[in-house]
Symmetry: D2
Subunit: 358 residues, 4 copies
């Protein structure tokens, strides 16, 4: 990326602006201090422009201004992206589309941050859960191999130079950031299973009106789902170097619009003190602006992180110095999706990681 | 109804048990002390029985018991109703179906309490909003003319003897009960418009998953809708003897599962004291078990009535003795639907109005 | 209890009617088919009657009727309980008061169901968390020793004959009922720790207005608390015969009024099939009316049990046949408090366990 | 204010940072592009600094960063404000304190934006509801007379030059902005009363833990309060030039954290078309960046404005061209408090009204 000098005016486009993550992404990009030009907002691929143009404010009324409804949603054609000299395309699209479109963008010299699950998993067995099909499997495999997993706290250098960044899942981000310092540092007892009991707000279920997103189903309720089978599990295994029997992840649907909290139970390989653990985390996250390490007493909670781009991590250690409870939380639409995508863009453009996120 | 001796064992059936009102209705009927036989639960008309029979507890898990999932949903055929010697059929069905089925039931000697809007309105102009079509318009007109409006506090005698009772709308019940003592008693200034600002929980919007029943739309929100055009308006006009320019009714969607509260603004025809008003209401509702008149200070609120079968009514009078604010609330699925249907059934069977509702 | 013939008219009293559990208890007792006389509602001990008597409907507006505010709260004196020939006193009082009053009641021949934590724990080390002091420690110790732990599914016979029943904690009930068939049956690997990740609605925190019960704190939030230190832990240890390092229980505060769901992670001692597990639970809970065993697929959720007296239990077993996830839920004010108290009363009076609870 | 050149570096201080409005105000000021220096955060007046200094992140965890808890709360002394060369003091304090402190600040040449009700009302009869006492009544009266009512859409020029700006109430802002174009333009029938039925989230009730801010009171509920007596009424009368019998304002408590929606019913003086009304509003709010006029169909709703600094206004006109329903909404902590305070500061410093608010 040597040709990307700071003086170059970066231009980005967003496909999939109608969803919750897409809307938050556009909001962040509109307020980003280094992007002088508004993002190009894209509609459905190769469809003719609608008779009555749809504007950003039609989809996300809180983004309208007194002057009007904001930028129009443009027809999505590859020619248009080339004409507009787009440097980076955000795909906030379903995984099938992301799987198809990312190679198309790369072929035109456009870098990609994909918010779907299409490119996150290197192991085909893990990826099987998405039922992806590739027009050119060999080419797709090469692109898959070079895709960076977009967790900046783990893969900053790879992201800086990547053409394609696979933005992590919301649950995965919450759990990986809490476990990485211990799991990658060899502090966990590998034979004692890890339990990640995670709870998410309803926006994580997407904008489609279904029986489970009905207010009457979700309100005043809590339910576990996808026990032993949530598709974010593969990300945990690959990023934390675990086998399937070493971690159990159970998601729950919370009666709130946004936010994820994971309560994670681990056994340490050998006895540690709270200070030891604080030191491990402090070292791992030194200089990382989007992770806040909670000081005891007290633990992170969803309200602390909602509408912020932070992941908050705290812990309680049993008196035996071995049984550890970690609590990790973030806003599933921000650090769990759109803000992390912007963080990745910042790295790809050689900017400060936290630019536009504080 | 002289032939209905106490020794006769009443048998009832419910069509439309899958919805919220239907579920509440079944719950009330199962606990009703005078109905020795469980209600017959009916599925869709003339459809074959499903391969795997559906039970009540599949649709409404809170109604299952430790022993099992409760009664099966039976195929709905008219023959079956006759065989089972059903006395009364509750229709918790969409209005088109209710319009079609009520005459069919009556033709077989089965009385009907219809919870839809199909039979509530005598004036065809008011009824137009439902787009109803009748196979035999003349017959339908005769049935319409004899249908009792199922507000027991207004039409007790007619309900007792009715073959068909049209259970009122949830908003209508809330507003009519608050206004009837004053409007029907001639205490209101007819030239000064009445304002009924009403707010309802999401169950009022039904079980269908739509953009407006999505948790992300309804939660942490409030929105007005159907301004100057809600289809319960006709009930207000007919029951309170008002013209369209004499009352304005604005519904709002509350971020709660159930409950309606209406704040109603009227001008009195002549100066009154709070004691005068309390006396008018006390007289009107004397001996009526399902209306609770709130004592000042304080006003009714939704929590007081949710999961009860009551309508609570309170008021504040301005110092001028003329401007009056009424607050009325109820549970839209109970006094606004299922409990009122049971109240009507009680009257039709010659039982205490409040049987099974306290 | 041979002298308690069915013809004896049972009379009960409730101390502590102002709280959430007390209110639910009174509601259940008022509707109980075997209690012909309303419960005697008691105010604070030895205080003079207030100038303006407080009625049940003042404290719990949903319990008022059209006729009035319901029974008055009586001055609480021991003489009055004796005069009224009270058979059984419910204590829905703070644990210090329950510790003091239960012996006073027993001394007057009045049986007690105590809803507080005062008498639940036999091991003084576990009980230390309550900071209880006894006027007569030796007498208190004797009473403690005879107190039955009020989990009818575990101690039915003891409860039937008990003078004092210590109604279990809400979290404890949820977790004990899910684990008892496996833990007491020897099906668990004792060396692998049990994780109980539990989530409760705000009513569990009581009626006092505190920073943590403020709507702005609890709404749209989730927070873990009392990690490694919740005072219900002792009940788990004593009832399930576990040591402190064998179970980890983490409570969370849910943004809902009522309901508890616990997600519980265990390792089986040896490989089992789902059918094996269903059989263990089916046998353990055969004929027990207040526990509903969930059929797969699907898991219990809070909405299924709120406003019911059931505890629902379901599970998912990993393909290895060893790692098991249990989900258990109940209404913390009902099966977690008031309904369980009524269930205990039913047993103490020789009635059907589920009387007045279905 | 001729001495306030653009080159002068503006310095502001905030008293009362612990509350909801204070927290939002600090958040806005920290992100304000024209304030190069962080606001000085003030603790209680004349109290010694606490042993363990409190930081912003202790009070508002979402405002902490990965690096730390943010600025400390400083002891509040007038000397300190002078030393720090503070230009403008925000008072997010109770009205008694604001009444006492504003003159103190002005005496030291420090301009004030007061977010309380202390200085909003010119008519002593309207102000009586606050029970304010002045050490020097004559001096207070002079200050009162020069205080600008901080509704920038009505009083921009006065605010620019004011030493003291009284930031309006949250309800008042919602209602005044909806009515001003019609009421001040003479389009309303003055003899027909205006009804303003307003609904607010719980943050409007403040941070104190009280029975009415308890989650169990507010959740799943709606209640009217302060009928005919809310203290924001005086602002409506003074700003809209109405008499008490010309407007009825009823507030309600919504089960949501933030947001206000007012449904307002008026009669027009003469028949108008929707286009006429749109023109009146369009002219009145031309060039005003913080008011968004809603285009029909559809109406403003709380979700559109929460976490924005806008007031959204929409309407529905009856077919008679006379009966008009206005819907107005805003975030009570932003356009209803903190954002409006920043908007006023912007005007006082000669900056763009919307600086830091979009």
């Amino acid at each position: 990326m040597a040709n990307l000098t700071p003086s170059h005016q970066r231009r980005v486009a967003v496909a999939g602006v109608s969803g919750y993550s897409g809307g938050e992404l556009v909001r962040l990009l509109l307020g980003h201090p280094r992007l002088a030009v508004n993002p190009l907002l894209l509609g459905r691929l190769n469809e003719p422009a609608p008779a009555h143009p749809v504007h950003l404010g039609d989809l996300h009324p809180q983004l309208a201004t007194a002057a009007g409804l904001g930028d129009p949603i443009q027809p999505f054609t590859w020619d248009r992206l080339v004409e507009e000299r787009i440097d980076l395309l955000f795909l906030a699209t379903p995984h099938e589309q992301s799987r198809q479109w990312a190679p198309e963008a790369l072929a035109r010299g456009i870098r990609v941050v994909d918010l779907s699950g299409a490119w996150r998993l290197q192991d085909p067995a893990n990826r099987a859960v998405y039922n992806l099909t590739d027009a050119d499997p060999a080419a797709a495999q090469k692109i898959q191999a070079e895709a960076a997993f977009g967790a900046p706290e783990l893969h900053r250098d790879a992201i800086r130079n990547a053409r394609l960044v696979a933005n992590p899942g919301c649950y995965s981000t919450t759990i990986i950031l809490a476990l990485a310092p211990l799991a990658l540092g060899g502090f966990l007892n590998p034979d004692h299973g890890i339990i990640a009991d995670a709870k998410s707000g309803v926006s994580g279920a997407g904008k489609a009106a279904t029986p489970k997103t009905h207010f009457m189903y979700a309100a005043d309720n809590l339910s576990a789902y996808s026990v032993f089978g949530h598709r974010h599990t593969g990300e945990l295994l690959e990023q934390l170097h675990l086998t399937e029997d070493q971690i159990q992840f159970t998601p729950h649907l919370l009666p709130i619009p946004r936010g994820i909290l994971a309560t994670i139970y681990v056994r340490l390989a050998s006895k540690m003190t709270p200070e030891d653990i604080a030191r491990v985390f402090g070292t791992f996250y030194a200089g990382r602006p989007m992770v806040r390490l909670h000081k005891t007493p007290g633990l992170p909670q969803i309200q602390h992180v909602v509408r912020t781009s932070f992941c908050d991590i705290g812990f309680h250690l049993a008196q035996d110095g071995k049984r550890l409870v970690l609590v990790s939380c973030l806003d599933n639409l921000l650090k769990g999706a759109a803000a992390q995508a912007v963080q990745n863009m910042n790295l790809m453009f050689g900017w400060e990681e936290s630019e536009g996120l504080l």
